[in-house]
Symmetry: C2
Subunit: 285 residues, 2 copies
DNA sequence: AATAAGATGTAATTAAATTACACAATAACT
DNA sequence: AGTTATTGTGTAATTTAATTACATCTTATT
């Protein structure tokens, strides 16, 4: 977590003097990173060790380390204030905010994602006889995208955004098959059923969903992306972008596991598209 | 300018020892910010003052100040040196790299996107009688996602990932209809045809594609996302994420233009999904 | 080959941060 | 209310880190 957020959050647990330090830092963070501990102590009207203790309380190694963290917090312009779209934002404002909040969400996802689980998921995928991607609603397009990616690997891959097809597919699954269920909330009943059915039929079920959700309970492997819910707009936005990036990661892990020769194959797939495209040389503006 | 970029740029003007320092820093920037000048000097196999001189050459006040700048450069995840996945990267490495390069791509897109054009696109969309989203291959899933979003707005919206359907739909379009064509390269022949047909039938054609591409020529309005091509993996990755964010932006612009009452409607759409989901209260792990 | 300019390292100095300890304030308990 | 823990805060000493000054070496130029 961002140091600045941390300061704001834990402002209650501070002592009187520590609070003075917090106030000064929040008031002029940019100045703080260029000050010595002595200068900051003077500004906050406390002693130097107090500042040091303050830093330690925020899980940093000391004052210099704290400055480093603070510098990073300031740099990544993350929404330590308000990055939510407001009623009267103009195009410039909402464009910037959406880009930034998406980036912040990706950053959060990066920090929370469990690497060993990714590795195991890649393991499972590379050994799969058949891969199925299932999603409903907003997650359907993520499933489509995954299909498009894995299709290039020349492995049997299917994708359904229709409950009936998903169900049929799940019932027909067998040992060695991998079913990837995508759902941000993990509370879509139909998809939970599908996951259960697939497992009953010995398929390995990977869930791209929230930990601690009904869907997660039905999965062999859960890839969770702790992206802050985007409640403002009543639409899934950042969460879905994070899911796509996760798909990219799995696909990349897949190709790496398969080795160099396999990647030459990918190039062939790409080259095969050439016939349907205007050549770069053909077109001149 | 970013310190890391600066190092890369001025690598020629460095002396032998300074270069050693630069190499070590570029190789492990994250380690550097947590090292003392002595540790870094040892890693680079040079003396401490050399490191100090190196820092000064980069217009920083000294080593600690340099570390601050470096920390900031790292925080904003810009693609300073090599964020490309390598043959022998482990899960941790490629996961981090993909997150970071995606974020960098979004950052680039944010800086290059043309706000007035976005505004005009929102204008056009809010006044549309019917909205169609067309994409092929990897862009098809972006089109699906767009449909999912705009569908909630209770406007007539269709999405086709099939050339024949797209063609039929384009031929049947009329004044007041908006066709959104999505293609990263803008060189997919079929989609260019579709755009041309739609225009001939008086539809407004918005292209989410590269400037200076055949597709762009056929469009009324071009929304370009100058995302650095992700050539490594022979798969569209970051470009597609940027397209999705652009869809989010258009959707957000749409809802803002429609006002508060309209957003209450969105909430209704979201609430309508409740029946198909496990309630949060129902489920306890 | 000689010399000057620049680069690099060693050792001394200075500055900064941390630790240890003592005192003060507050809270808890008799 | 008075006494005793407990926690908080500051002073001074210590340690650690960074910088400066100077000497030595390297390299390019005449």
């Amino acid at each position: 977590m961002n140091v600045l957020e941390k300061i704001v959050n834990s402002v209650n647990s501070f002592s009187k003097s520590e609070r003075k330090v917090a106030d000064v830092i929040l008031a002029n963070p940019q100045t703080t990173i260029h000050s010595s501990i002595a200068a900051l102590a003077k500004m906050a009207d406390v002693s130097e060790p107090t500042v040091n203790r303050f830093c330690r309380r925020l899980d940093t190694k000391g004052f210099p380390d704290f400055k480093l963290h603070l510098a990073q917090s300031l740099a990544n312009g993350t929404p330590y204030v308000n990055r939510h779209v407001e009623e009267d934002d103009g195009p410039e404002a909402y464009t910037a905010k959406i880009f930034e909040s998406t980036m912040a969400a990706l950053d959060a996802a990066r920090q929370n994602v469990d690497i060993p689980t990714i590795n195991r998921a890649v393991d499972v995928l590379t050994q799969a006889k058949k891969i199925s991607f299932f999603g409903l609603g907003a997650s359907a397009s993520v499933a489509h995208d995954a299909q498009n990616k894995f299709f290039r690997f020349n492995v049997p891959v299917v994708c359904f955004d229709d409950i009936v097809m998903q169900r049929m597919s799940a019932i027909n699954s067998a040992e060695g098959d991998v079913v990837v269920c995508i759902s941000h909330t993990g509370r879509t009943k139909n998809l939970c059923d599908i996951a259960a059915i697939a497992r009953e039929n010995d398929a390995t079920v990977i869930g791209i969903t929230a930990y601690d959700s009904p869907l997660a309970k039905e999965c062999t492997l859960v890839l969770s992306l702790d992206v802050p819910e985007d409640t403002d707009m009543y639409m899934p936005m950042a969460s879905r972008v994070a899911q796509l990036v996760l798909i990219d990661i799995l696909a990349t892990g897949f190709t790496l596991r398969r080795g160099t020769k396999f990647r030459e194959n990918l190039k062939k797939v790409k080259d095969s598209l050439r016939g349907s495209r205007f050549d770069k040389k053909d077109f001149h503006s």
